[in-house]
Amino acid sequence: MADTPLLELDQADKSFGGLRVIADLDLVVNEHEIVSVIGPNGAGKTTLFNLITGIYPPDSGEIRLDGRNLVGLQPHVITGLGIARTFQTLRLFLNMTVKENVMAAQYGHTKVGVLRSMVKTPAARREEKEIHRRAEEKLSFFGDRLMGYRWDQFAYSLSYANRRRLEIARAMATEPRLLLLDEPAAGMNPKETHEITELIGKLREDGRYTILVIEHDMHVVEGISDRVVALDHGVKIAEGSFESVATDERVIEAYLGLRRATTK
């Protein structure tokens, strides 16, 4: 494992008005690792993703990718540096086709300007071909699910599970090193959940991605995580293997209020 961690949060802090959503959080994600973030609703998990991807800046502290500070960079620049995310609420480009969704996300690492694509210079044609090829490659990652006739379907016509898959494919198309998956198994049936668990493993093995994932489904968390981080009210309350975090008293308290229940 490299000396510099791939992602490092150093005393990151974020408040919305009087509400402290992320409180002096330290977090490390090493290269080639799968880290799960768990925590009850409102624990600050999605805010954590928004801080990392630059949608809002932290009030204080640093966020580093490979030692480089990301604070103050615009989201598209951060994505260009190698962090891609999916959205919990699914924010696909609904009125574009499946393939176009993935092609659009390649904007950051393609170059041909608008004037050259207007007259379709040879360089523009070549790059366009390459964009198509890469989109097909990303989509083929999901087996038959997003292949063939589905390329030309509009994203709005996809089933819920396929939309989640397309979100991941679109994130992959930005050629990231670190993938942030926000509840990839939300709203899926047990079979699909199982598939997603397998897929995340495959993303690391075949896709060579480092993965930070928010997930509520403990089966998924157990199945994929090298390390689990539990958040509550923006504070890291436990970190370690799934077993140690799942049995941690403070984690159980955060989810169930157990200690209070037993002391009463």
């Binding site: 598209h76 009125n95 608008v114 694509s117 668990t197």
Partner: protein, 492 residues
Amino acid sequence: MSPDDGIPGPAESAGAPRIGVDEWVASVEEKRERYSGLRGVALREWDRLPAAARVLLCVGLAALFPLVTSDGNVFRYGLFTLVYGLLAIGLNVVVGFAGLLDLGYVAFFGFGAYTYGILASPQYNNHWQAEAAIPVVIVATGVLGLLVGLPSRRLFGDYLAIATLFFGQAFYVFVNNANRIKFPFFGHTNLTGGSNGIAGIEPFNFFGYKVQGTRGLYYLLLISIAIVLIFLFAVHDSRTGRAWRALREDPLAAEAMSIPVNRLKLLAFVFGAAVAGFTGAIYATIATAALPGDYNVGLLITIYAIMILGGFGSMMGIFVGAIVVSSVPELLRSSANARPLFYGAILLAILVKIRPWRRLALELGGLIAFGFAVHAIASAAYPRLTDGKAIGSGLFARALDHWMLFPRNPEHIADVAYILMVAAIVIFPQATGLWRALLLPALLYSVMFVWENLLLQQIGGATRLILLGALLVALMNARPQGLFGKAYVEIV
């Protein structure tokens, strides 16, 4: 974790239906099937054509127009349709592709016209060749687009609309008053000719060949449109076009997917502005003048009407929209055209709306009988109501004399009838069942009465605009996504 370490495989290997048919695909297939026969073949072939071929086909058809009709008709129907069409194509980049509501768009059109006017008119004693002036106009308008875009690049939706509307109005005020600007060092300068504008703008002069006359301008516009369209189709399916559409769909997600949203918004503005500026230069040679009143909100609304009617994002739809919006008012100028159009539209609406045919026959028969009955009663009891005559000559007009009421002095009664008719149209949808069936002939008769006695009398004035408005309302109700647009899905 490898795919086969004891975990059951993904769904499709477990006997689930193979890829190829699911409900959605089935429904699409069904929709395709529905258009069987000639129409289906035509639609499918049209979809298969490459964009350039479609453009050339449409342009080729349009190129035949001057061959079959007079110069006057080309001027009336052709030139303005094409000017509006080209303008709407540019606006479509900003609104249809990138989803930015730009209400200052006509200012770029005006800016192009004025810039060309300054470069090629005796008023400023400049006589630039077109091959030099046109690039300058395009670049200058593009730069203006950039300048307008810069402060508003962070705005979206309504806020952007307000900011750009302000710019459009500011432009209008500016050109109206910029004839006495005092610059340091230069002194008083007449920049725009003020409310008199720039007169005597010269035609395009390409290497000594002057593009003038109705036909010359028509073909110039047509060639320009073909070039712009082919370029824009290429951009639409390029990296930039996809990024624009992504930004229209979801700016935040686009930003998170490595798309520099602000820069692309500026680019869309520049593109739209450049097309508008180019159109402005052409328009200046058509009008041989640049006048501040030509670039005002009225034109903006016309262009938006064309784009909305054609369907956002559909470049071909824009043409149909332009033809409808610019030709219908022209066609309606004479009562000889207006009457068949009006009765034809009513008949068409009835044919489409009323089923089965037995009911249709009853309603039509009822309408005719109702007319004769009213006419007979009125001529017996109150002959002043039937003393007048229908406008125009011909068999239909004379037949109407025996069926429709034509009061000797229709002014007052027609005004009252107009208000009653509007009330009746508003109330009518509330009626159901038998009442509806019984009231329809009376309603139609009252509409025709107002038409013959009031609207047709003023066909050159307000009526044609009222009719255009009614047509747009009807079309947009029938197809909210526009004639050629596809319905956008916002929340699923």
